[in-house]
Symmetry: C2
Subunit: 430 residues, 2 copies
């Protein structure tokens, strides 16, 4: 089952599909060459939005959860991709330390951790879980959804402080599934002898969405030139404001100005394509995740007149971080529907390979709202077919593999942007 | 649906399954380390036989056909594996020249070539077909089963003879799907600037099965030590005779002696395991393929008393090659059944990854006969589930992924043996 595109204006994305399906060998070679210059993140998930006239990434997650939502038939792709990554970084690796989020009582998240451990074990690794919690001086055990009980042990420095590990566990690779929103812990500083993925500057204490989308701009410009498309079709406009303080009403003018500018640029494009929809912008914290600190505006004046509730909502995000830097991003309508519910595709990658995806389906949200709200009930709908081998003979919009292939291409552009971003923001390279 | 094992003695293979499933992280790490020392062939298929008390490769094909028989759901694994291979050998590759067998009117073979082209195109390559036929001074076109017409062009030297290609086509990779039984063509000699896979000495003019199984002996010895199994469980005994001439009745004594020796060794093992089946040996050409020149014997005397028809059958194989060197191999019963038909698993690999498999099902053959006879009607039954993620909680013999995983492990041992063999027999390394 392929979600319906409920829009009168689906020609631009169908044309995009046609162009990319016909150009697969060019597209794939372009990526192959790009990965000669950049190292992909260990893993990544990308939230996409498809409005029929635009298909764009809106969030690139370097600490992906949700592995439990992938179709189990496609998991061998994840194993194979992980094998390729492990072999590249640490061919003789025996041990991998996985550091999950602290909210280890969330059943969905535990299912994802469990699935991720299963994938990684098949690459020939012993996997143990480490905790960054200050309180975790002792081990604790959690019972995974599929039965086994797993011990989470306090992460510590070992080998005279030169390495990071656990008691009796000296990993070659430390894989963070914790986005470090609470800050970069001392125990992970100055790790030189081991592989630490993603690097610390990918954590939300340091990472900025605006750096990512600036890199994405650049990646999309080069890609669009190669395949001959309008970069706007896959790229949302964005701007940023620093020194914003929602509590103190500081920085509202900058926000209003940038919202105005983004909306104006969208209007020009809508006129060019004859799009009748109402333009809108998304305001979100430049650092941070979990769908916190996000609002939708369709008029710059709205940001000048926020009420207390709205300001409180925007002021603080995950782990109590205060919001100072703000991203203003072109809103992309979600016109994909499963039954009547809005469906947003999420694409998963390990190393440079797309390993699967699913639709985040949410009946209770509107087309211009963020679907990834804390505690939101969403129904994951795994991509029901493979995404790798498009059907060159199918009419645009009729083939599931073709739509998923398209999603895989756009998601990989975001993946490549993350690689460029992480290289540019690497403090050791400054 | 998983084929039935129709045998009273299935404990050895069920124990093997249990041992390997429990040791997956050790097994996978062992392979990861092995691939640090050896380069896998570009692609490979391995015919296995499962008797319940033994699971062994009987043929390792370095020019695999049959890609059309793989489950289409699993094809993304093939694409991903091929991407990884292309990136390793020729990261900037734009063109790949595929050289198929000459019998291009065989519809099944054409379907395999078509599928292979589809897989390779998705790695970002333009694929064209080249012909080694002397008569192919001009291009000819063939209509592929799925519709498109493809041109097969004469392979020639280009760039002042330094490279191999077609008119207006300068490939980075030349991929042979032609096993060179007819000899090594001059046009492929002395290719230094391009990647030629598999190397010429993998062609049946030069390759010997006995070299492969000698390398397999060595690989299995090391693997068995690591995981703690009896190497015989996955390894057939073998011996060889040179200077055999079936037409002239020369070399029969050597054959009888080696058959006797192999049968004696089998009997000892059967006694050790309490196996009541009748031991048998397979006699086949040491060079060659296509199931030609193969016979089954259960008594050494049989080879001393071959009638004219039997001698003629053994004397000449594919492309009229005369048989001089002969392999005597322990026979492995096929006790897998789909309905009442004998089912032999075939496992496909690209680079170092298992990308799928199928059962060769043949109702008209007996358990100790070769199923791959020319023109034999066999029904391919694609492996119906993934093979990468075993179910550690399943009882041995009840889980499809577990049986396929087991097959994948044994097939990869043969793949590794092929790598060792090709390195040892490389004329440039002598």
């Amino acid at each position: 089952m392929i979600p319906n595109l409920v829009t009168v204006m689906d020609k631009p994305v169908l044309d995009l599909e046609k162009t990319l399906i016909e150009a697969t060998s060019v597209v794939e070679r372009w990526f192959r060459m790009a990965w000669q210059d950049y190292t992909p993140p260990f893993y990544c998930s990308v939230d996409l939005r498809n409005s029929g006239f635009k298909l764009a990434p809106v969030d690139t997650n370097l600490f992906p959860g949700g592995f439990n939502n992938l179709a189990s038939d496609m998991l061998p792709l994840a194993v194979q991709a992980a094998m390729s990554a492990i072999e590249k970084y640490c061919p003789s690796a025996k041990n991998l330390l996985l550091i999950p989020e602290k909210h280890t009582r969330n059943q969905h998240y535990l299912e994802s951790v469990s699935r991720l451990m299963e994938i990684l074990r098949q690459t020939g690794l012993d996997i143990r879980l480490g905790s960054l919690s200050d309180k975790a001086a002792q081990s604790s055990s959690i019972t995974l959804p599929d039965g086994p009980t797993v011990v989470v042990e306090p992460v510590k420095r070992i080998n005279s402080g030169r390495r990071v590990g656990l008691d009796d566990f000296n990993p070659c690779i430390i894989l963070l599934n914790n986005d470090l929103s609470a800050g970069t812990p001392d125990v992970l500083q100055n790790v030189y002898e081991q592989n630490l993925f993603p690097p610390l500057h990918a954590g939300w204490t340091i990472r900025r969405k605006s750096n990512h989308f600036a890199a994405y701009d650049d990646v999309v410009r080069r890609f669009s030139r190669t395949v001959g498309i309008d970069p706007w079709l896959v790229n949302p406009y964005f701007a940023r404001c620093s020194d914003v303080d929602f509590e103190e009403k500081a920085g509202a003018e900058c926000l209003a100005e940038q919202v105005q500018s983004v909306l104006n640029r969208i209007r020009r494009k809508y006129r060019e394509y004859g799009i009748k929809e109402k333009p809108f912008a998304i305001i979100k914290a430049d650092a941070g995740t979990y769908g916190m600190g996000i609002m939708t505006v369709s008029d710059a004046k709205e940001v000048l007149n926020l009420n207390r509730r709205q300001r409180n909502k925007m002021a603080v995000i995950k782990d109590g971080q205060a919001v100072r830097e703000v991203l203003v991003q072109e809103g992309v309508h979600s016109f994909e529907r499963v039954n009547d519910a809005v469906a947003e595709p999420v694409v998963y990658m390990i190393d440079r390979y797309v390993v699967g995806g699913f639709y985040r389906v949410n009946a209770s949200r509107d087309i211009d709202e963020n679907l990834n709200v804390p505690g939101a009930e969403f129904v994951p709908l795994p991509f029901s077919q493979q995404h790798t081998l498009p059907d060159v003979t199918a009419a645009p919009g009729t083939s599931e593999p073709n739509r998923y292939y398209l999603y895989g291409v756009v998601a990989r552009l975001a993946l490549l942007a993350a690689s460029v971003e992480l290289e540019k923001t690497d403090p050791d390279m400054q």
